[in-house]
Structures are given as structure tokens and as C-alpha cells.
């Protein structure tokens, strides 16, 4: 099993506050890796270092290295748009652009130079199918994406991310704002997607992590306490703190 993303000795500060403390992790290809831990433990921060979204935060400082297929993504010569094309992201709150469903999905391909209408239409349909939302929106592709329900919007955002043909998909608590049915749809979708993509998801929901992930990393106060096979971690955690968290003693 090859690892797609590796982090070594990763430290991150927001101003004076250290949000990540020497995190080491190897994320394997075509698996779902879940990042769990209480609020403010650094799991979302860690996820955002993987596609350099933290670059947008003023006053952030990063030490250590993150490699994607061997390439140090914080090296000065790296084109950050290339990283974000390879490593897509779906956010906690669905954030479709206020434009049509079609234009939302076509946004990424257009950004990367696809101009032909036929080609775009093909990508849009394929992405919407892959995100399991095609049947719901195929008759209203030119309608505003803001008219969709929350769950549909989130799947649209997944389709939008898939349209640039990424290698890795980062999901930042992507179901936390959704109802149980929409959540189940997105979980099924994630399981489906891991045949072709590497998925890294942050979740607050223990059951979700146990249900869908293959590997699981437990974060606490900026440290990665434990990382390994999900089943093992949930049945026989090796660290006392992991056990306390999983069994609900704090959180």
C-alpha cells in the first residue's frame, strides 16, 4: 500500500498559538482516512495544511514537511494551484457559487483551461453522476445552485471538486450540517469514491468514522495521539486518551 501524502514533524502556529505539534502521518492511497478528536484539537487545521488552504490565514507559520507523491508541497518552486488541482476539498458548509449548477461544476475545468462546450458538458455530467446527484439536477442544470437543498448543495460541491479530476479528496466535516439521510448519501458516496480517490475526512461523529473509514487518526491539543487501522483503534486503542475519547469520557 503506497502512501500518497506524508507529513513529517509538522508544526503550525497561528500567531503565538501552536495548533499542530510535530505531526507525523502517512496517508495511504485509495483508502478513507478519518481524522477525529475534540473541537480545537487541530484536525481541521491539519487537513488544511494538505492543500495549503492555511496560506489564506494571516499570521500562520508552518514548520516541517508535507509531501504529496514525494513532492514537498511547501517548497518554494511548487505551484499552489497545481496542488489544489490534485488535492480537492469539500468544506464543512456547502459553498456553491451563486451561479448555475452547470457553471459551478464547470468552474474548475474552466479554471484549468477547458474551453470546449462539448467537453465541459461531458465533464459536468460525469462529475454529477459520480457525486450521485445527476438524477436530481439533470433537468435544471441552468438553474441557480442556491436553489438546491443543503444535502444537494454539498453533493454538488463534491461534484465540483471531482470535476478537476483530483487524486485526493479532503472532506472537512462535510456532513456535520446535514440531516441523517443526506449524511448517509454522502457516506455511501465516500465509500464509492475510495475505489478511485484517496479520501481524508475530518469528522466529529465517532460512528461515522467507525462506519466509513479504513484508517483513523486521533488528534488532541494539536498532537496526533494515535494513528492506525480503524477497527483496531475502535476495539483496542493503544493510548488511554484515545480510549477515553472514543468511549465518550470527554469530547
Amino acid at each position: 500500500m503506497d502512501s500518497v501524502i506524508t507529513a513529517k514533524g509538522l508544526n503550525l502556529w497561528y500567531g503565538d498559538h501552536q495548533a499542530l505539534k510535530s505531526v507525523d502521518i502517512e496517508i495511504p492511497e485509495k483508502r478513507i482516512t478519518a481524522l477525529i478528536g475534540p473541537s480545537g484539537c487541530g484536525k481541521s487545521t491539519f487537513l488544511r495544511t494538505l492543500n495549503r488552504m492555511n496560506d489564506l490565514v494571516p499570521g500562520v507559520r508552518i514548520e516541517g514537511e508535507v509531501r504529496y507523491v514525494g513532492q514537498d508541497i511547501y517548497a518554494p518552486e511548487v505551484d499552489v494551484t497545481w496542488i489544489r488541482k490534485r488535492i480537492g476539498m469539500v468544506f464543512q458548509k456547502a459553498n456553491p457559487f451563486p451561479m448555475s449548477i452547470y457553471d459551478n461544476v464547470a468552474y474548475g475545468p474552466r479554471t484549468h483551461g477547458v474551453r470546449s462546450r462539448a467537453q465541459l458538458t461531458e465533464i459536468v455530467e460525469k462529475s454529477l453522476r459520480d457525486a450521485a446527484i445527476w438524477d436530481e439536477v439533470k433537468d435544471r442544470l441552468n438553474k441557480s445552485a442556491l436553489g438546491l437543498s443543503g444535502g444537494q448543495q454539498q453533493r454538488l460541491c463534491i461534484a465540483r471538486a471531482l470535476a478537476v479530476e483530483p487524486d485526493v479528496l479532503l472532506m472537512d466535516e462535510s456532513t456535520s450540517a446535514l440531516d441523517p439521510i443526506s449524511t448517509a448519501k454522502i457516506e455511501d458516496l465516500a465509500t464509492e469514491l475510495k475505489n478511485r480517490y484517496t479520501v481524508v475526512m475530518v469528522t466529529h461523529n465517532m460512528q461515522q468514522a467507525a462506519r466509513v473509514s479504513d484508517l483513523c487518526a486521533f488528534f488532541l491539543l494539536g498532537e496526533m495521539v494515535e494513528y492506525g487501522d480503524t477497527e483496531t483503534m475502535f476495539s483496542t486503542p493503544s493510548d488511554k486518551r484515545t480510549e477515553d475519547y472514543i468511549t465518550g469520557r470527554f469530547g
Binding site: 489564506l56 494571516p58 489544489r84 488541482k85 476539498m89 457559487f97 468552474y107 474548475g108 479554471t111
Partner: protein, 286 residues
């Protein structure tokens, strides 16, 4: 009523009456002023006045040149201020990484908006007419107004940019869009209502400005083409109002101009409100 003593109830009534009087006075003052201007101005607002020119030989008074000069100045000022103000605002809100420099510029802009406009006129006269050698006219006047309204356009654009949800920017960035593409395709289209509203209000300030134009655009009342007007003394409507009221003693003409200015002000406010609302609705769910 239980609880409130007699004294307090009397105090309550007195205060209520005082507020009522303040409101009534304000209302009466405003309505009285508008009414007075209309009563004095509307009778002299005739077609020959609006469509004619002033001539000593023919003994006619017409304000067509001034209406045109006003339009010329709006055109010159807006063509320059729009790209400049929006560009500066985009830089400060989207690009500038040094928050302290950006803050200093914002503070300077804020201060500039509070400066009396005659000072812009003075500086405009010195800088454009004397140092740069531009002749008194629509160009010098327009450029002076650019400096005057630039901070306003910049600030309203910035406020509008700040209302665009950060999630849109993140969404675009996460798809590999560069800074400029994010700004052009996601940020600006969602800020356009605020920018348009800011521009309409800027036009309102141009139409209403007189002090800054006295020394820069001049007092000329001849009918000029746009090209000639750029470099020849050209009075706008507000300056013409001053000329006819203070120098020629034509109070009726001045009031007629006042009516026109008030109608324009009313239309501009209406347009600003309408544009903001329409553009906002236009991009909602449909």
C-alpha cells in the same frame, strides 16, 4: 398606573412632547424647504430655459450648456474614478498582505472623505491648472472631482467586497483558481451591487458639487462640444446656480436650476436603492 409616581409621569409626558416637537419641526423644515423651492422654481422652469443658451445679444438665458457640462464632468470623472477606485479597493481587500499599510491607506481615505470640498478645488487649481498647465475646464474639474470622490468609491467598493462570503473565495481557491481568477469570477460579480450603488452615489456628489469646481472647471456658460469643453471654462449646473443667483441677480433662474438639481438628487437616490436591490435579487435563487 401603579409604580410610576406623578412626577415621573409628568416628566415622561414632557419628554414625549419635546420629541414630538423635534420631529414635527424637522419635518416642517424639510417639507417647507422643498415646497418653497418648487413654488419659486417651477414657474420659471420653461422649455426655452432648459434647451437654450445664454446670450447678451439676444437677451436670452438658457442652461443647456450647464446641463451638458454637468454630464461631461460626470463622464470624465467616472471613467477615471471607477477603475481606479475599484482597483484600489480590490488590492486593499484581496491582495494586500501587510494589514498595517492597508489600514493606513484606509484611514487616509476615511480622512479625505471628510475634507471640505473647496480644499480639493484649491489643490486642483494649483496642481492641474498651474503645475500641469491644464486649462480651466471640464478636464481639470473632472480630475479634481476624481480626487475628491476616489476615497468614497474605494470605501464603498471595499465594504461591498467584504460582504462576499469567505467561503466563495475558499471554494474557488480549493479548485485551483488563482487570485485574479477568484477575484474576477467569484468576488467581483458578488460585490457588483455595492459597487454600482457607490458609483451612483458618487455621481450624486458630482452633480451636487460646486466649491471644488469654481476654480477648476470655471464659470463659462457658452455651449461647447465635449472636446472643446475639456479645455474651456465650463460651469456645471451648481456653478451656474451660483452665477445666476449671486452675479446676475436672476433669482428665478437659480430656483429653476435648484428644482432640476433636486429632481436629479431624488432620481439618483431612487436609482441607488433600486440598483442595489435588483442586482442582489438577480443573483439569488431562481
Amino acid at each position: 398606573m401603579e409604580g410610576l409616581s406623578k412626577k415621573r409621569r409628568a416628566w415622561n409626558r414632557t419628554m414625549k412632547a419635546l420629541m414630538y416637537i423635534s420631529a414635527a419641526l424637522t419635518c416642517a423644515l424639510l417639507l417647507g424647504l422643498i415646497g418653497y423651492i418648487f413654488i419659486r422654481g417651477v414657474p420659471s422652469l420653461t422649455w426655452p430655459l432648459v434647451s437654450g443658451v445664454t446670450s447678451y445679444l439676444k437677451n436670452t438665458i438658457g442652461i443647456l450648456p450647464n446641463i451638458l457640462n454637468t454630464l461631461y464632468i460626470i463622464a470624465v470623472a467616472m471613467v477615471i474614478v471607477l477603475p481606479l477606485g475599484v482597483g484600489a479597493a480590490v488590492y486593499l481587500t484581496e491582495y494586500a498582505s501587510n494589514r498595517r499599510v492597508a489600514g493606513a491607506i484606509e484611514f487616509a481615505a476615511e480622512t479625505l472623505t471628510g475634507i471640505p470640498s473647496i480644499i480639493f478645488g484649491l489643490v486642483g487649481m494649483l496642481f492641474f491648472c498651474q503645475i500641469m498647465g491644464t486649462k480651466e475646464g471640464v478636464l481639470a474639474g473632472g480630475l479634481t472631482l476624481v480626487i475628491m470622490i476616489l476615497p468614497t468609491v474605494m470605501r464603498t467598493t471595499q465594504e461591498s467586497l467584504k460582504t462576499v462570503p469567505q467561503a466563495y473565495r475558499e471554494g474557488a481557491m480549493a479548485l485551483g483558481a488563482g487570485k485574479w481568477r477568484t477575484v474576477r469570477t467569484v468576488v467581483l460579480p458578488n460585490a457588483v451591487d455595492g459597487i454600482v450603488t457607490g458609483c451612483i452615489l458618487a455621481v450624486g456628489r458630482i452633480v451636487g458639487e460646486s466649491a471644488a469646481l469654481l476654480f477648476t472647471a470655471g464659470f463659462g456658460v457658452e455651449l461647447n462640444s465635449f472636446k472643446t469643453a475639456l479645455h474651456s471654462s465650463s460651469a456645471t449646473l451648481t456653478v451656474a446656480l451660483y452665477i445666476y443667483a449671486a452675479e446676475r441677480g436672476e433669482t428665478d433662474v437659480a430656483f429653476a436650476i435648484a428644482v432640476i438639481l433636486m429632481i436629479i438628487a431624488f432620481l439618483i437616490n431612487l436609482a441607488a436603492n433600486g440598483a442595489g436591490r435588483r442586482l442582489k435579487n438577480g443573483r439569488g435563487a431562481n
